[in-house]
C-alpha cells in the first residue's frame, strides 16, 4: 500500500472520530428510540409491520391527526423524533445498541423489542442506567416474574394469554379434543408455548391425551417427516405456535397431505400469515393474534383510524405487531401527558414518567390496556380468537366465529407466576 493511500485511510478514520464526538441536543422534542426487526426471519412477519405501524402513528401524532383521546400534537405538544434501530444480530448487539441510544444519542425513552431473549437482556441494562424502557412485544413471562424493575415496562400481555385464551375458545366452541398433537419450534417461544398450552389443556380438557409432540428446529422450513407423524397420529387437534416463514411452510406442506381435514388445526399466533397465504390457508383453522388485533379487532373510532390509515399507507391491513407498536406509543403518550399535567407542562423527567406509567390504563385500537401486573409494570389486555374462512370476492381470508375474552379471564392475577396459575386451575379468572 502506498503512503498516500495509507494517510488517506488514517485521516478519514480521524475525521470519523471527530464526527462521532459532536454531541446531539434534544430540545422541545421527544426523542424516541425504536427497536424492531428490520432484517432476519422475524422482519417480514413482525418487525416491518411494527415499524410501519410506528411510522404511521408517529406521523399522525406529530400532525395532531389522531382521534380522541390522543388529539394533542406529538407527546403533550412535543414533536416525536424517532430513531429506528434494527433488532437483528443477537442480544449482545442489542445491549450495546441500547447503551448507545441512551448514552450517545440521548434519547428520552426506548420502545421496542420483539425477541424474548432481547427483552431479557436489555431490561437490566435500562434499569442500571436508570432510563425509561418500554418492551412492546416479546412473549416470555419471565421478564417480570424473575426480576423486579422500576424503569422497565411492558405494554402488551405476555404469552400466557395466547394459550389460555385458545383453550377457553376451544371449550366455548365445543371443539372435541380427546387426543392432541403439537408441533413447535425448538427454542424458548416454542417450548414455552407448548408447556402453557398442554398445562391449560390439562385443566379444561383433563381427559385429553398428548399423542405426538414434535419440536423441529427453528427455521427448519421442511416438515415432511413431522407431517407424516401428525397424519398417522390422526389426533383430534394439532396445536402449533409456529410463526412467520415456518408457519407458512408448514401450512403449505400440510394442506395437500390432508392434515387440516383429519385434525382440527389450532395456531396460537397466526394472523400475520393470512395476507401472504390467502386462499392457501385451510378454512376452519382456529387462530389467535396475541390480542384482539387485525381482522379480530373490535370496531371503534381508534381502531378505524389505525386499520384504515395503515391499510392506505401500506397496502395491507395491520396485524399483531403493528397493533402492539401502536398501543406502546399511545401508552407512552398517555404517560407523558399525565406527567405533564402534574408537573405544570414541563417535559417530564424519567422518574416523573415512571410514576405516570406505573399502573396506567389507556384505550388502544386493540382494546383497553391495563398495567396491572408486576406492580404496575406489566400490561394485561383482552384477546380474541376466530376461525378462518376464505372470502373469494374480497380475495382475502376472513375470520368468523370470533370470540372475545376479557383481560382478567386469560391473564394471571398480580403476584402469581403464569405457569403456577395455569396448573393451579386458573384461580381468580374473571370471565363473562
Amino acid at each position: 500500500m502506498n503512503r498516500r493511500l495509507r494517510m488517506a485511510v488514517l485521516a478519514s478514520a480521524a475525521a470519523l472520530a471527530v464526527a462521532i464526538a459532536a454531541p446531539a441536543f434534544a430540545q422541545e422534542t421527544f426523542k424516541l428510540g425504536i427497536v424492531t426487526f428490520l432484517s432476519g426471519p422475524a422482519a417480514d412477519s413482525f418487525g416491518v409491520p411494527a415499524r410501519n405501524g410506528g411510522q404511521f402513528v408517529i406521523d399522525q401524532l406529530n400532525k395532531g391527526a389522531a382521534p380522541s383521546p390522543y388529539e394533542k400534537v406529538g407527546f403533550g405538544g412535543m414533536k416525536i423524533e424517532p430513531v429506528i434501530i434494527d433488532e437483528n444480530g443477537g442480544a449482545t448487539k442489542q445491549v450495546q445498541e441500547l447503551r448507545n441510544l441512551y448514552q450517545r444519542d440521548n434519547v428520552d425513552a426506548v420502545l421496542g423489542y420483539i425477541g424474548s431473549g432481547d427483552c431479557l437482556a436489555v431490561a437490566p441494562i435500562a434499569e442500571e442506567l436508570k432510563k425509561f424502557l418500554i418492551l412492546m412485544d416479546c412473549g416470555t413471562p419471565r421478564i417480570f416474574e424473575e426480576s423486579k424493575y422500576n424503569y422497565v415496562f411492558r405494554t402488551a400481555a405476555h404469552a400466557t394469554m395466547d394459550n389460555v385464551g385458545l383453550i377457553r375458545y376451544m371449550k366455548a366452541k365445543n371443539v372435541k379434543m380427546e387426543t392432541l398433537s403439537a408441533i413447535n419450534q425448538d427454542y424458548a417461544w416454542g417450548q414455552d408455548s407448548r408447556t402453557d398450552f398442554v398445562a391449560a389443556a390439562g385443566q379444561l380438557y383433563p381427559n385429553a391425551k398428548l399423542a405426538t409432540d414434535l419440536l423441529p428446529k427453528f427455521g427448519a422450513g421442511q416438515y415432511g417427516t413431522e407431517i407424516s407423524a401428525l397424519v398417522s397420529a390422526g389426533s383430534d387437534v394439532v396445536y402449533s405456535s409456529l410463526w412467520g416463514g415456518d408457519l407458512q411452510s408448514f401450512i403449505l406442506q400440510a394442506s395437500p397431505r390432508g392434515l387440516p381435514k383429519r385434525s382440527q388445526l389450532v395456531f396460537s399466533a397466526a394472523d400475520h400469515v393470512l395476507p401472504p397465504l390467502g386462499d392457501k390457508m385451510p378454512d376452519g383453522t382456529i387462530i389467535g393474534a396475541r390480542g384482539a388485533y387485525g381482522l379480530m379487532s373490535k370496531k371503534s373510532p381508534l381502531n378505524d383510524w389505525l386499520f384504515k390509515g395503515y391499510e392506505a399507507a401500506n397496502g395491507v391491513y395491520p396485524v399483531q405487531a403493528a397493533y402492539r407498536m401502536t398501543q406502546a406509543i399511545l401508552g407512552l403518550k398517555a404517560a407523558v401527558e399525565k406527567a405533564m399535567a402534574k408537573n405544570g407542562g414541563k417535559k417530564p423527567s424519567t422518574d416523573e414518567l415512571v410514576a405516570a406509567m406505573t399502573g396506567l390504563e389507556w384505550p388502544s385500537p386493540g382494546g383497553l390496556i391495563q398495567m396491572k401486573l408486576a406492580d404496575g409494570h406489566q400490561a394485561i389486555q383482552p384477546i380474541a380468537f376466530g376461525r378462518t374462512k376464505y372470502n373469494p370476492d374480497a380475495k382475502r381470508v376472513d375470520l368468523v366465529d370470533i370470540e372475545y375474552f376479557d383481560a382478567e379471564c386469560v391473564n394471571p392475577p398480580a403476584g402469581v407466576k403464569s405457569l403456577d396459575w395455569i396448573k393451579g386451575g386458573m384461580q381468580g379468572a374473571k370471565c363473562k
Partner: protein, 326 residues
C-alpha cells in the same frame, strides 16, 4: 531477531489506553469493553493460526467460559470481575485441554469443520436446556471489583473497561513474547512443514494442542467479559456466526501486529454501531462493504497500515518472523 516494541513500552501503552477511559464519552466505554473482549478471542485465533489451523468454533470456549462464570455467579454470588475473568479463562482452558489433543491430529479444513461441529453441538445442547433458560438465556448480577460495587453507571462502565483493557493488554504482551519465543517460532514451523518439525524431535501435535489451549483460555476469558458487559448470556454465544465474527476480526487485523487485532475489533464495532444508527435497513450491507474494502485495499490486514513490509528486501524467512511483531 528483529527489534520490536519493548515489553515495558507496551505496558505503558496499555496504561495510557486505560487512563484514556477517564475522558472518553460514556457510550464508548462499553463499546470498547466489547471490542477488547472480541480482540482477546481473536488474538487466540491468531495464536492458533500460526500453526496453520483456523478454529471456526471458538464460540464453544466463549460460551463455555461465559456459562461457567454465570452459573457460579448465580449459585454462589461470586461477582468479582477479576475472579470472573480467571474462572472464565480456567473453564475455557479446561475445555481446550479436553478437546485440543483430540482435534490436534487433524489439520486444515478438517480441523476447522470439527471445531465448528463441536461448538454447534454445544449450542444445540444449550438450546434444549430449559433449566438454563433455553434459547432465551438468563441474567446475572452486576460485577464488583475487590469488594467495591459501583452504583454510578459511568464508574461501573469504566471499571469493566479498565479490567478488559488491562487483561487484553496483558494477553497481547504475553502473545508477543510467545511469538518471539522458541515455542512460538516452532509453531510457525508447524505451519510450514510439520513433518520436518517432527524430524527435529518436536511433537507437532503437542505444539498445536498447546496453542489450542492458549486460544481456548483467551476465549473463555473473553466470554467472561462479554457476560459482565451485558449481564446476560444465551446460546447465541456458541452459535457459528459468533465464532465466524471472531475469525473475521482476525482476518481484518492480519497477522502482522498484535495491536492491529484491537484496532480491527474496535473499528468493526464502530462501523456496525454507526451503520445501524444511520442506515438501519442496510447496516449489514455497510458492514459487508467495509470488510470488502479492507480485504481489497489492505490484503494483509489493518496491521499493514503501520507495520511496513520489508518483504521486498528481506528473505521470506525473515518476513514470516516479522509477522509477530507489533
Amino acid at each position: 531477531m528483529n527489534k520490536g516494541m519493548h515489553p515495558l513500552l507496551m505496558i505503558a501503552l496499555v496504561a495510557a489506553v486505560t487512563l484514556c477511559g477517564r475522558v472518553l464519552p460514556t457510550w464508548t466505554l462499553s463499546l470498547a469493553t466489547i471490542a477488547a473482549a472480541n480482540a482477546l478471542i481473536s488474538l487466540g485465533i491468531v495464536v492458533l493460526a500460526r500453526t496453520g489451523n483456523v478454529s471456526f468454533g471458538q464460540g464453544l470456549f466463549y460460551a463455555g467460559g461465559g456459562y461457567c462464570v454465570a452459573l457460579i455467579a448465580n449459585a454462589w454470588g461470586l461477582t468479582d470481575a477479576v475472579a470472573q475473568v480467571i474462572i472464565g479463562a480456567i473453564c475455557g482452558g479446561l475445555l481446550g485441554l479436553v478437546i485440543g489433543p483430540l482435534i490436534a491430529r487433524y489439520s486444515g479444513i478438517f480441523f476447522g469443520m470439527l471445531t465448528l461441529a463441536l461448538s454447534m453441538v454445544f449450542y444445540g445442547a444449550l438450546v434444549k436446556s430449559t433449566a438454563l433458560g433455553g434459547s432465551d438465556g438468563f441474567n446475572v448480577g452486576r460485577p464488583t471489583l475487590f469488594g467495591m460495587s459501583f452504583a454510578d453507571p459511568r464508574e461501573a462502565d469504566f471499571m469493566l473497561y479498565a479490567v478488559a483493557v488491562v487483561t487484553t493488554g496483558i494477553a497481547g504482551i504475553a502473545a508477543t513474547i510467545l511469538f518471539r519465543s522458541e515455542f512460538g517460532l516452532a509453531s510457525l514451523a508447524v505451519r510450514e512443514n510439520n513433518l520436518r518439525v517432527e524430524y527435529l524431535g518436536l511433537s507437532a501435535n503437542r505444539i498445536i494442542s498447546i496453542n489450542f489451549v492458549i486460544a481456548a483460555i483467551f476465549a473463555g476469558a473473553s466470554g467472561a467479559f462479554a457476560l459482565m458487559a451485558q449481564r446476560h448470556i444465551d446460546p447465541q454465544f456458541a452459535y457459528w456466526t459468533t465464532s465466524g465474527e471472531f475469525v473475521f476480526v482476525a482476518v481484518l487485523a492480519g497477522n502482522q501486529s498484535v495491536a492491529a487485532v484491537f484496532v480491527a475489533s474496535m473499528a468493526l464495532e464502530l462501523v456496525r454501531s454507526f451503520s445501524n444508527l444511520y442506515l438501519p435497513n442496510t447496516w449489514q450491507l455497510v458492514l459487508g462493504l467495509f470488510l470488502l474494502a479492507v480485504i481489497l485495499f489492505l490484503p494483509r490486514g489493518i496491521g499493514s497500515l503501520w507495520v511496513r513490509s520489508k518483504r521486498g528486501t528481506a528473505k521470506p524467512g525473515v518476513a514470516t518472523e516479522r509477522e509477530a511483531l507489533p
